[in-house]
């Protein structure tokens, strides 16, 4: 469960990114975060995996209050949260398999377990036959599926995706949405910041609109509500 109570964020350069947000997201939900550029969506996402600290207010993720979380416990929090970006952030010299396995290696998972989990996850994202390819040899949609595989290989409770379809053509984007839906159906909370009006309006889910650092709209089965 994710809960924010009166959360504010002012950056050291004086920019007020978040100005008092109250929100609750239950386990297993699928939520779109929409809003114009610079509205505070990215800050909102970054605060959830403690890349940014709230200036004031309370953020609780899976029972942990992030403001009171010691730095050395941040890694543990991040093992419960998968993060996917618009630009994939794959390591170019590693194969598809190695990129996904990397996420388990660095948290000191055993080799046997790593192998099993990576192969399972690659077959979920439908890339088992490309395990030995390098990222450069894949299409954009395939690269994004590798990055999703890396984010969920550790079975996190929450999957945060920041514009996951931003770099993809519409057809490929739908493939990614199917995948996210599958992941959501397995019980993972999925939060997706997006500018894609078609997706939000077709694939109806809860919509939280953020503008000027405030929640301006929060609807179950909402619409995108902005002109692209």
């Amino acid at each position: 469960m994710i809960e924010m109570k009166d959360v504010w964020k002012t950056y050291s350069n004086g920019i007020k990114a978040i100005n008092g947000i109250d929100i609750k997201i239950n386990k297993g939900e699928f939520v779109y975060i929409v809003g114009p550029s610079g509205a505070g969506k990215s800050t909102f996402m970054r605060m959830m995996y403690r890349e940014e600290k709230a200036t004031s207010g309370t953020i609780i993720i899976n029972g942990k209050e992030l403001g009171k979380l010691k730095n050395k416990h941040v890694p543990k929090l991040r093992r419960e949260i998968g993060v996917v970006f618009q630009d994939f952030k794959l390591l170019p010299r590693l194969t598809v398999y190695e990129n996904v396995a990397f996420a388990l290696e660095v948290i000191e998972e055993s080799k046997a377990n790593t192998r099993k989990r990576v192969m399972e996850t690659l077959s979920l994202v439908n890339l088992k036959n490309k395990a030995r390819f390098l990222p450069d040899e894949l299409s954009g949609g395939e690269q994004q599926r590798v990055s999703i595989a890396r984010a969920i290989v550790n079975n996190p409770h929450i999957l945060l995706t920041d514009e996951p379809t931003g770099n993809l053509d519409p057809e490929t984007a739908w493939g990614i949405m199917d995948l996210l839906d599958q992941i959501n159906n397995r019980g993972t909370t999925v939060i997706m910041a997006t500018h894609n009006k078609d997706i939000v309006n077709t694939f109806r889910k809860r919509v939280i609109a953020i503008d000027g650092g405030l929640v301006t709209r929060d609807e179950a089965r909402g619409e995108y509500g902005y002109e692209n």
Partner: protein
């Protein structure tokens, strides 16, 4: 209790991984690595030579120090009670360690003995001994010899004071200068080496910034991220100590050999090879590792935001 130990202890596999990554880091910026190792090499070579020199000079100094004593000659007119008073006054000087009486007969005997064959000419003087009775004074710290001698000279019933003034002072001056110059050079070089290492590691950190970002994102612990860079620094330190140790061991053996065979009459006793060179070698490795760790910690603090 047990469980905690399992959790905090590094797994063997992880240890291997950090080692491998550390080696890979070395290769990533080959020339910078080479420059850092060279800097450590030069630094440690100088440290080694300075230390070998200083420790030998110190040992030589110690040996000499034990020989340094002041001869305070007593006025011929002084009576027994005045002599006793003088003795207790000397003993009361706080820097003084011991005072021994030497009659003029003993003095002459010592002189004749020290001079060996040449001393025989003095045998005839035994009847008309030109020497005075004397107190032989040892100081606690040989560096106080000059001051104590001055003080004794002011006392009553002292005819004259003698000690190896020039030799002692010159030796201590040389020792001090050598120590200071060596120290300044070593400190300067240490900082240079540290700076080069920290820069090399900074380059590695920048080159691996993507990996580091993802490691943080998926929840690798901070120390898991830091270790490969620490290993990189340690390796630079160890590799940098190899050549200096080789030169030191070979050079010291050579020097000892040279003195023993070519200049056997030379009045120099070098510290014996074992354990001296090996202790020194161990010290150089430790120093290399310290410089390496120091360099990597510096760069991590500045560039690795974990």
């Amino acid at each position: 209790m047990m469980k905690q130990e399992v959790n905090t202890g590094m797994k063997i596999k992880t240890f291997g991984r950090h080692g491998k990554e550390g080696f890979k880091n070395l290769g990533r910026n080959g020339w910078m690595t080479f420059a850092s190792i060279s800097a450590v090499t030069v630094t440690l070579l100088l440290v080694g030579v300075c230390l070998a020199l200083l420790l030998n000079l110190n040992a030589f100094g110690d040996q000499l120090e034990s020989d340094v004593e002041i001869s305070a000659f007593i006025d011929l007119t002084a009576k027994q009670d005045q002599q006793d008073e003088l003795k207790s006054r000397i003993e009361n000087i706080s820097e003084v360690e011991s005072v021994t009486y030497q009659s003029k007969e003993e003095g002459l005997d010592n002189l004749i003995e020290n001079l060996g064959d040449d001393g025989e000419v003095f045998e005839s003087l035994k009847d008309e001994n030109p020497l005075s009775d004397a107190f032989l004074v040892k100081t606690k710290d040989p560096q106080d010899v000059t001051a104590v001698a001055e003080e004794i000279k002011q006392l009553e019933n002292v005819q004259d004071v003698e000690f190896a003034e020039d030799t002692v002072n010159r030796l201590f001056k040389v020792l001090e200068i050598a120590r200071n110059v060596g120290l300044a050079l070593v400190v300067g070089l240490l900082f240079t080496a540290m700076f080069l290492i920290s820069n090399t590691i900074k380059l590695t950190i920048v080159a691996r910034s993507h990996e580091i970002e993802i490691m943080k994102l998926v929840g690798a612990t901070n120390w898991f991220i830091r270790w490969p860079f620490l290993v990189e620094g340690i390796l630079i330190g160890i590799f940098g100590s190899i050549i200096p140790i080789g030169i030191l061991i070979y050079g010291y053996y050579y020097l000892i050999d040279l003195i023993a065979n070519r200049f056997p009459t030379l009045f120099i006793d070098l510290l014996p090879v074992t354990p001296f060179v090996y202790q020194l070698s161990g010290l150089l490795i430790v120093l290399g590792v310290i410089i390496g760790v120091w360099g990597s910690l510096t760069s991590m603090r500045k560039f690795l935001k974990v």
